[in-house]
Subunit: 390 residues, 2 copies
Amino acid sequence: MPVLLFSIETKVYNLKRFANFSMNNISFFHLCRCFFFFFTIFEIVYFQNVLMSQITLKDIAKALNLSPSTVSRAMKNHPAISAETRVLVQEYAETHKYKPNTLAMQLRTNRNTTIGVIVPEIVHYFFSTVLAGIQQEAESEGYNLLFCHSNEDYAREVRSVETLLDARVCGILASQSKTTEKFDHFQEIIDNDVHLVFFDRICTGINTDKVVVDDYAGAYNAVEHMIHTGCQRIAFLGSTPSMPIANNRRMGYEDALRKNKLPVDKNLSRICDTVDLAREIVPELLRSDSLPDAFFCINDEVAAYCMQIVKSAGYGIPEDISVCGFTNSYITEVTDPTLTTVDQHGFEMGKVAARLLINRIEGKETKPGVVSRLIKTELVPKGSTREIVQ
Amino acid sequence: MPVLLFSIETKVYNLKRFANFSMNNISFFHLCRCFFFFFTIFEIVYFQNVLMSQITLKDIAKALNLSPSTVSRAMKNHPAISAETRVLVQEYAETHKYKPNTLAMQLRTNRNTTIGVIVPEIVHYFFSTVLAGIQQEAESEGYNLLFCHSNEDYAREVRSVETLLDARVCGILASQSKTTEKFDHFQEIIDNDVHLVFFDRICTGINTDKVVVDDYAGAYNAVEHMIHTGCQRIAFLGSTPSMPIANNRRMGYEDALRKNKLPVDKNLSRICDTVDLAREIVPELLRSDSLPDAFFCINDEVAAYCMQIVKSAGYGIPEDISVCGFTNSYITEVTDPTLTTVDQHGFEMGKVAARLLINRIEGKETKPGVVSRLIKTELVPKGSTREIVQ
DNA sequence: AAATTATGTGCACACGTTTGCACAAAAAAA
DNA sequence: TTTTTTTGTGCAAACGTGTGCACATAATTT
């Protein structure tokens, strides 16, 4: 495709202006004009798009000798329209495959049915599960989903918010990226009177509805379970404490230790939320004087790699060392042994979050302040932890 | 929330009608009216939504004593507008946070920048990777993504198409559900002059652009690799042959056998694309007289379960039996041993598909017929296959 | 100086809907 | 019959933007 020095619009405009000279006395200057004229014409035709045709309310009105307003009302079962007219119109619309123009409708009524979703990562068991839940709930309520992916990147998250506000969505479901530390973009959503619900990775700087997993209880139960199976020195592979989900799990972990009268050893509590960190930190812990006899990990992936490292160091799982993950993704079924984990019920979280947002949009959620929903977690014991000693 | 017998619109309408009686001679009938009147008023106020306010072109025009047309042109750097007016308008717009109303723009120009995506499954490594690729390419070109999830269900797929057409998207990227056998809904997309590009699970009944993985070569190379490592009786755990991706892989598998002068045993080629089927079919194959010494599986998940079953039957991997998957998802790293697989380059497929669709939309893809893009596959040998004997 | 051309702006209509209001005709009540 | 009420329909304006055209005024060419 040739490069355009000016936009098509500019070209058309100039063209019209140039064409507007009188043909009385022609100069070299005019000849140049002519040349340019034809060149531009060609270029414009070349780039012209074909317009598509769709039947409208007006067309129906014209065909049935009615006014557009009558047709509009007939389509919506307005009580002032006679039964016969309604049937007439609806049948005509049916046979001619009339599709209301959503754009025009939304413009007129100043309200639409598109909700935006911002996800920090999509190639990710938990978030894709949540997305599936959101999608199902939204679809069943007649809402569309505008999908954005921040990829754990602050700049992309800001751009996503802009995109969604430009598209005039009626609400936004968001989970924060790891790198986000400023919240102006989220505040802007609220300033624009667009409803906002956070899920999972909530934003502490913004006062709005949220749906979170009960991380504290999940961690507490998992750690207590390992204690009941005889573990004494449980290591915690966590994430940055600025993320509430990570901090809550650490608190659940520590409280479970305290409740069972076990020491809370700060050396056993590490930030280790990626595969690379696991390769570094797990061997270090295994080398230390006081060997841990269990690992409680921030997610299933870290847990799976942790298991690999532990096994290759010659320890048996779960005989020597127990391992527990978090999420209950499908990798927990294919490791050897299978991985004990905490189910986060992502699908339900998605449904609850979408439900809450839609209620806000439709004014059905009347509670004035901030609404917080808690999704229950569930311990799923598999092969990487021992049986409870009775 | 109380149940509404009639819609709000109907209520308002009736209200106005009823209010329209003369107050001269009041009867019991009228009193009933009055009661109903107030009840309805209350109900309407109760359900009323707040309208949001946004600054428009008109507002700017009024504030600067210009006409809306001038403001419109100034914002778009139209050449007919003087520099000072343009700066004036753009600065005013900037400070007052003017956001063009996308709906109105799209309505006026009859063209929008939203493309629809239909994915059969989202809690799925490959498809979520493709979605990430689509998202990145679309975002960089200024397009929005309307996300639909058919969940491998024909009815939901049809509904998704309806939704996307109603939303007037300018193009659709789709991957077919397993249960789809009629294609009218896809044809309707084309009949509505909306661009359509299939990816991965293409629809053979529809003549349109597509992007597919080179399944044949992927399968061929994987099987040949296993042959070179000394495997002689390779089983194929495939999927329904009506899906081109499954059929192409079977052909690659068979051709690799033939090329290397190995017999093609129909008993070793099964339909086994779910975990449940694997639990049934793999043990059956292991019991048979002529034990396979390798499994080539349609996806990583089946391969992982296959490995579990093989191991628990007492065979060593890869010493006794080799296993190879397809996709290169993250489960291939956490199985024991790690799983040899074929990388499908999902992210690139997403980008290529989006690129192709956008080119069609913008008229940059001038090739008139059907365009097919092939995404290269790549064998990724890991721990579940042996080293090649030199 | 006169004719021509360039420049900048505004009017009015269009896109496809929805909706307040007016109005005629039919039905019911007085 | 006359008045009131009900019923069904159409007119016109609106949502926020884009664009053809006309029309002044300024700049340039004859």
